[in-house]
Structure formats: structure tokens, C-alpha cells
């Protein structure tokens, strides 16, 4: 059988099967989904890259295949899917409606693979909608605060879907084909203004998923509201579908000639990155913080892609992969804390480091990667991004990115401090380390973060393959992946990653040995209650952890920027058109069928309009 179809059958069939299993044989459910994802991974990685399938439904020609760019994203989806579903087996323990959860989980994985393999717009849109739908169902799974979060997500997704649909219609009107290959060939024949309109419409469609300003509003609620095991996938892989779409648009539809679009997108992404980082800094809930941080990170990725240079695109794709890795880990770690300590509110929880050392280790590594500090993978991506922007004369963009990533240190520290450091309080004395199915994915992923800092080759090579499909010349030296250690920018300046790693590791180990060895017998551990509190004796009611309004001074300094959130504008807009909003609420009442009907109706409307105005 064709392995593409096998993949889809495996995932979608497995999804239904897991639902049934949960109903009749819940014991086998966990093992089944993990095994299933293992199988999916096996099929995916053993797949011949030339595999493709073409067929026709109702006169519409469809084509499925994995391009090398899609394969790159497919790696993220399948590996992260496996790990996050492994994580889920422990994380979701004891929750109800697990069949529903796993079914939608697997549906979204399958739909993502579907999106990646579709080489035509119809199946792309079809899988896109399945993805939106299944993820929406998981977002509202927890049942808390659904009205606000779910509504925001689905409304924005719908906006994205419609604009995408409109773009598809326009494209079809001009080219008469849904196949991407046809479209890429003939798109430059269209008038530039229509070309621009198509690009913008598609960009809105993909921008919603990649949470680009000003379409990011849904993201913080949806990310923090879903179960963390799904958010790891949601932020790590699902949002990358937007990035994948961006790469399709930027390199195939718009091309590099239209620099203005690139500039605008890059600046929008930069503003997204800065503002989202600032929002992340002032959050007090770890999930929210990570959600905003994801938005900011997606901003970097888009900046990299939009810069259009070889190094920039490579940086963008590298960060995309790495973001899935470290943000996946972080969401998992936060989920572990939520599972074990009961809350992720950083004003409540503190001092878990001695209770959950491995979770802390994983989060520490991921945070170092996130902050872009050498010698871990994040630095490689950041370095490439900066050098790409500087060498392509985007000086002010560099400053924006730098502002955002310096401010990212603030929230990086905040999340580690808020959850793991600080006073060890008696009410968290019962907390235990997360169970193995949760730990192993985290540690595996953080291992990738470490490895990618020293041996970026194993990620850069597939990226380069993907970039070749975008029309870039391969520039990496033709060596084995573990030998790749020197990165060059276009001015010929370099960074030698393995030197950095060796130096840091050596100095760290030597210094650690010395400081541990010196006076080893007379060094003593004391509890965090035995601190120098100005000579006073700490009372039981004293809260000695600094928790509330952590970055108040910083907040005060950036206050003019944060006075009004984008959310507020939307809320105002909503308030002004309350009646309309009520209508929207009635239509999007969380019921999938209504939504499907509505989409179909809109589709029909558009088709009619398209026939009329574009004449096909």
C-alpha cells in the first residue's frame, strides 16, 4: 500500500479505534496510542521520499506527496506527536472523556500530516479544517472558561479559514487548477495586485495559526487552556503549520522580488515578538507565560523566513524545529508541575527543585535553549538570525529582535524561579517527581536541545534539503553531521560551536570540581527557612518568596507600551457590535456541526461570488 495512505489510515483509523478502546477496553488504550504513534513514526521515517499519490474526486485533481520542506515539518509532527502522546498517558491519568481526547489528539496529528502531504489546495484546506476542528475540541476539553477561550480561537480560525478559502477561490479563478505545482508555475502570470491580494489572504489564513500580530489574540487562552500534553503539540507542531504555510507563500507565491511584503511581515513579526515578550514578562501563570513566549518565538521564526536570505531562512526553520523541542519540553514540564503540585500559578507554587529535580533539569536546559544562551541549540538559531539580519542590513529589526530576546531572559528566569526556586513551603512537601512516561519525553527533548547546540548538523541538513526546494543553493559543507561545527555568515565571520561547548563544559566542570572539593566536609546544606532574614526569626505566616508582580519595575518602565492590549481593542470592537457578537456566539456555540454547516454555506457563497466576479 502507498505509505502516505497507510499513514493517514493508521492515524485516523487509530483515532477512531482509540475512542472505541476507551469505551470497551480502557486498559489497552494507553499502550495502543503509544504503539500507534511508534508505528506512525516507523512508517514516516522509512517512507520513500518520492512516494506520491494522485487521484481525482468530482473532477478535482488532487495530489499528495511529501516535499522536503514538508518532510522537515513532518519530523516535528511525528516525533513530537509520539512524545506528547507518551506524556499524555501519564498526564491524563484519571481524567474523564479520554476517548474524546485521544481521538481528537490523533485527528490533529493526522490532519497535520495531511496538510504537509497535500500538494493541492483543496486537500490542504480540508485537512486544515480538520486540524482546526480537532484542536478546537481539545481546547474546550477542560470545560473551564470555554466561552471566552474557545470562542476566540474558533472565531479567529474561521477568519483565517475564510480568507484562505477566498484566496483559493481567486487562485483557482486565475489558474484553473488546485495543484500547487501548477499554481507555482503560473502564479507570476497574474496581475501583481491580485498576486498581492492572494498573498495577503493566505498570509492571514496562516498568520492566525502562527499567532502573528494582530491575529495572536486567541493564542494565549487556547495554549494555556488546553491540557498541557496537547499544548506541547499545539505550540510545538500545530502552530508550525502556519509557518509551513508562510514558507509556501513567501518562497513560492510571492517570491523574493516583492521585498515590501517581506519587510512588512518581518516588522509585524518583530512587533509581535517584542510585545508578546513583554506580555509574557508580566504574566504570573506559567502556562500563560509560555503561551505568550510561544507567540514571541513564532515571531522570530517568521522574521527569519521573511528576511529571505539563506541564513535567515535557515535560522527561521532551525528555530521552528527547536521551538518545537524546547517549548514542547517546557509545556510538558509545566504540565508535570500542574499534575504534581496542583497549580501552575507562580504566585502560589515555589521551591519544587528538590522535589522534582529531573523536571527542573529538563526545564533548565530548555530555558537556556529558549533564551538563546550558548552552548545550547537556541543560540545557534539566534546567532544565525542576528547575522542574517545584520548582513542583510536590517539593523533596526536586529534591535527589535534583540530587545525581545533580552526581555526573554526576564520571563525565562521568572518561570524557573516561580516554579522551582524560592522557599520550599510545607504545603508542597508532598510533591513527588513526575512519573516516567512524563519524564522520558522531557529528557529526550532536552537532550535534543543540548545536542543541537554542538552538532547542529543533524537539524541543519534536513533544513537545507527543505531550502533547496524553496530555491536556495546549498551552502553547508559536504560533511557528516557531527563534523559540522563552524557556521559562517555572508560576510565570512564564523562561530565555532564545538569550541564553545568544549570551553564551557571544561571550565564548568573544573570550577565545579574545585568548589565542591574545597572544604567538602565542612559544607552543609541548610533549608531555605534558614536564611539571613536580617537577624529576625521567620514566622510561619511569612511568605519569604518573592512572587507577586515579579517585574514591577520593568512593568513600570514599559507601561506606555502595555497600557492597552490588542485584546482590549477587540473587546471594544465586540462591545460596540454587541448584537453581532451575540449572533456570532449563537452560531459558534461550540457545536461542530453548526460550524461545519456554516463553513459549507460560506464556501458555497464564495464559489458563487467567485464564478460571478472572476468568471470561472
Amino acid at each position: 500500500m502507498n505509505s502516505l495512505i497507510l499513514l493517514l489510515i493508521l492515524v485516523f483509523g487509530g483515532a477512531l479505534l482509540s475512542y472505541l478502546l476507551n469505551k470497551f477496553l480502557p486498559i489497552l488504550r494507553d499502550g495502543f496510542v503509544v504503539l500507534l504513534m511508534l508505528l506512525v513514526n516507523y512508517v514516516f521515517f522509512t517512507m520513500d521520499s518520492a512516494t506520491q499519490i494522485e487521484f481525482e474526486i468530482g473532477g478535482i485533481h488532487l495530489q499528495w506527496a511529501f516535499s522536503s520542506a514538508a518532510f522537515l515539518f513532518g519530523i516535528i509532527v511525528s516525533i513530537l506527536g509520539l512524545l506528547s502522546i507518551t506524556y499524555s498517558t501519564a498526564y491524563m491519568q484519571g481524567k474523564d472523556r479520554l476517548g474524546y481526547f485521544y481521538m481528537n489528539f490523533l485527528f490533529s496529528i493526522g490532519s497535520m500530516l495531511g496538510i504537509l502531504m497535500s500538494r493541492d489546495l483543496i486537500s490542504l484546506f480540508f485537512f486544515w479544517e480538520i486540524m482546526t476542528w480537532s484542536s478546537y475540541l481539545i481546547v474546550i476539553y477542560s470545560g473551564k472558561d470555554v466561552d471566552k477561550r474557545g470562542l476566540k480561537y474558533i472565531v479567529f480560525s474561521a477568519i483565517g479559514a475564510y480568507s484562505m478559502l477566498m484566496a483559493i477561490v481567486i487562485i483557482y479563478g486565475f489558474t484553473g487548477s488546485f495543484l500547487l505545482t501548477d499554481i507555482f508555475d503560473s502564479i507570476f502570470a497574474i496581475k501583481a495586485s491580485y498576486q498581492l491580494a492572494i498573498a495577503i489572504l493566505l498570509m492571514i489564513g496562516f498568520g492566525v495559526k502562527s499567532a502573528m500580530m494582530p491575529l495572536h489574540v486567541w493564542a494565549s487562552g487556547a495554549y494555556s487552556g488546553s491540557p498541557m500534553s496537547f499544548t506541547a503539540l499545539f505550540s510545538g507542531a500545530l502552530s508550525k503549520m502556519g509557518v509551513f504555510g508562510f514558507s509556501l507563500v513567501l518562497f513560492n507565491l510571492v517570491s523574493n522580488q516583492n521585498w515590501l511584503i517581506n519587510e512588512i511581515i518581518a516588522w509585524l513579526a518583530a512587533i509581535t515578538a517584542v510585545l508578546a515578550t513583554f506580555y509574557a514578562v508580566i504574566q504570573s501563570d506559567a502556562k500563560k507565560l509560555l503561551a505568550y513566549s510561544s507567540i514571541a518565538q513564532l515571531g522570530y521564526i517568521v522574521i527569519g523566513l521573511a528576511s529571505g536570505t539563506y541564513l535567515g531562512v535557515m535560522a527561521g526553520l532551525f528555530l521552528a524545529v527547536l521551538h518545537a523541542v524546547f517549548k514542547g519540553t517546557l509545556f510538558m514540564a509545566v504540565g508535570a508541575v500542574e499534575k504534581q503540585a496542583g497549580t501552575t500559578d507562580m504566585t502560589k507554587v515555589s521551591g519544587l527543585i528538590r522535589k522534582m529535580p529531573w523536571t527542573f533539569t529538563a526545564s533548565l536546559i530548555s530555558i537556556i535553549a529558549l533564551a538563546g544562551i550558548p552552548p545550547l541549540g537556541g543560540f545557534v538559531g539566534k546567532w544565525m538570525l542576528y547575522e542574517a539580519l545584520i548582513t542583510s542590513d536590517h539593523y533596526y529589526l536586529v534591535i527589535m529582535v534583540f530587545l525581545s530576546s533580552t526581555a526573554a531572559f526576564l520571563y525565562s528566569y521568572r518561570i524557573l524561579f516561580g516554579l522551582f526556586l524560592g522557599q520550599e513551603e510545607p504545603e508542597f512537601a508532598h510533591v513527588k517527581e513526575a512519573p516516567l512516561p512524563m519524564l522520558i519525553p522531557m529528557l529526550l527533548l532536552s537532550g535534543i536541545s543540548v545536542l543541537s547546540g554542538t552538532f547542529p548538523g543533524f537539524i541543519l541538513e534536513p533544513i537545507q534539503n527543505a531550502m533547496v526546494s524553496f530555491g536556495f543553493d546549498p551552502r553547508l559543507p559536504n560533511i557528516e553531521w557531527w563534523q559540522l561545527s563552524v557556521l559562517f555568515n555572508s560576510w565570512g565571520d564564523k562561530v565555532v560551536l564545538q569550541n564553545v561547548m568544549i570551553s564551557i563544559t571544561a571550565v564548568f566542570l573544573i570550577a565545579l570540581t574545585l568548589i565542591t572539593w574545597k572544604g567538602y566536609k565542612k559544607q552543609r546544606y541548610v533549608t531555605t527557612k534558614d536564611i539571613s532574614s536580617s537577624g529576625e526569626i521567620i514566622q510561619a505566616e511569612d511568605n519569604m518568596t518573592f512572587q507577586i508582580d515579579f517585574y514591577k519595575p520593568f512593568e513600570r518602565a514599559i507601561w506606555p507600551l502595555l497600557k492597552r492590549k490588542i485584546d482590549d481593542y477587540y473587546t471594544d470592537f465586540g462591545n460596540g457590535l454587541e448584537a453581532l457578537f451575540d449572533l456570532v456566539k449563537r452560531i459558534y456555540n461550540g457545536n461542530g456541526q453548526f460550524y461545519a454547516i456554516y463553513v459549507m454555506a460560506f464556501l458555497a457563497l464564495l464559489l458563487i461570488a467567485g464564478t460571478k466576479y472572476f468568471g470561472f
Binding site: K522, R524, K529, G535, E536, I537
Partner: protein, 181 residues
């Protein structure tokens, strides 16, 4: 410096030399003597030339100055702070009131004999001691350190039970943590 009774190895000599020339003084004005400390540390007397400098928290400090009378309420804090300091640590009792109660000999709220509660390496008498005598006290402490005789902390460790008994006699409510090193 180097005599038969107290032969020092070269390592000890260097240790003691640096210790005596770098005294981090805990910023704790326990009593009215603290008013002469600014004078001691500033331009006319300038104790920093002897290596004396302030430290903000007990973890960093070597030297605890009990500047004058010690009320029982402060004693509790002083003991706590003293136990949080890292070895080797020195205590200077400052003013007559630490020696024998001074003019507060019949006050119900001040202790009369500091060295019953924490080990004292050097006493400086006077009420209040002038900056000159404070510096003389520092010098005396430096001499003791150089000879390796400023071992108040060791004494405290060895006779902890005795000190604890004395302390508990004054302090009714005993919230202090264990001191086991």
C-alpha cells in the same frame, strides 16, 4: 608571629595573614556604640585601611561587633546572626556595657556579661569607646588572629551546651534552629 608554642605552617600563616587583613564587619548596630562606627570608617580614622569593611549579611561577614549594651530582644537576634556567620568568625565586645553591664548594671532588659552568651575575642572598654580605641581593638584582634588565638567560634562549638543553657536562661521563647557545626 612564629614561636615554639604555636608553630604555624606556612599555609596557616598565609591564611591567618589574609584573615587578619580582611575583616568583613557585619552591619549590625546593636547599641549606641554604633554611632562611632561611621566615624571609625570615615575619613579621619578610616578603618578600611586595615582591611575592615562592612558586609551586609551574616553569610559574608567575619566580624560581629556588639556595639554596646545588648537587650534581651536583641540578644536573640545576635545569637541567630552569629550562628549564621561562617567560620572563622570573631566577636568584638564594644563598650563597658558588654563587659559588665556598665551603667545598665541594674536594668532588667540588658544582659550584663556578653561572653556568657557568645564567645568574645576582644573587648573594647569605654563608654563609648572612641574611634581610636575601636581601631586599637581591631589591631588587637588582628594580633590574635595572626597568632591563631582568635578561636571564639571553636570555643562556641565545643561548649555549645553551656552557651545554650545560658542563653535559654534569658530567652524564654526559644525559636532558634539547631547549630551543629
Amino acid at each position: 608571629m612564629y614561636n615554639d608554642n604555636n608553630a604555624q605552617t606556612i599555609v596557616e600563616y598565609i591564611k591567618n595573614f589574609t584573615r587578619k587583613n580582611s575583616l568583613f564587619m557585619l552591619a549590625y548596630g546593636t547599641g549606641c556604640g554604633a554611632i562611632e562606627l561611621p566615624a571609625t570608617l570615615t575619613s579621619r580614622y578610616d578603618a578600611e585601611r586595615l582591611g575592615v569593611r562592612g558586609a551586609a549579611t551574616p553569610r559574608q561577614a567575619d566580624l560581629l561587633l556588639i556595639t554596646g549594651y545588648l537587650s534581651t530582644k536583641t540578644l536573640k537576634r545576635v545569637i541567630r546572626v552569629y550562628e549564621q556567620m561562617q567560620d572563622p568568625k570573631y566577636v568584638i565586645g564594644f563598650g563597658s556595657c558588654t563587659i559588665n553591664g556598665g551603667m545598665y548594671w541594674d536594668s532588667y532588659n540588658t544582659i550584663k556579661l556578653l561572653d556568657k552568651y557568645i564567645p568574645v575575642d576582644v573587648y573594647i572598654n569605654g563608654c563609648m569607646p572612641r574611634p581610636e580605641s575601636v581601631i586599637a581593638g581591631f589591631k588587637e584582634l588582628q594580633r590574635l588572629i595572626a597568632e591563631g588565638k582568635a578561636d571564639g567560634a571553636t570555643k562556641y562549638k565545643e561548649n555549645l551546651d553551656w552557651y545554650r543553657e545560658n542563653q535559654k536562661k534569658v530567652l524564654k521563647n526559644w525559636p532558634l534552629v539547631e547549630y551543629n557545626w
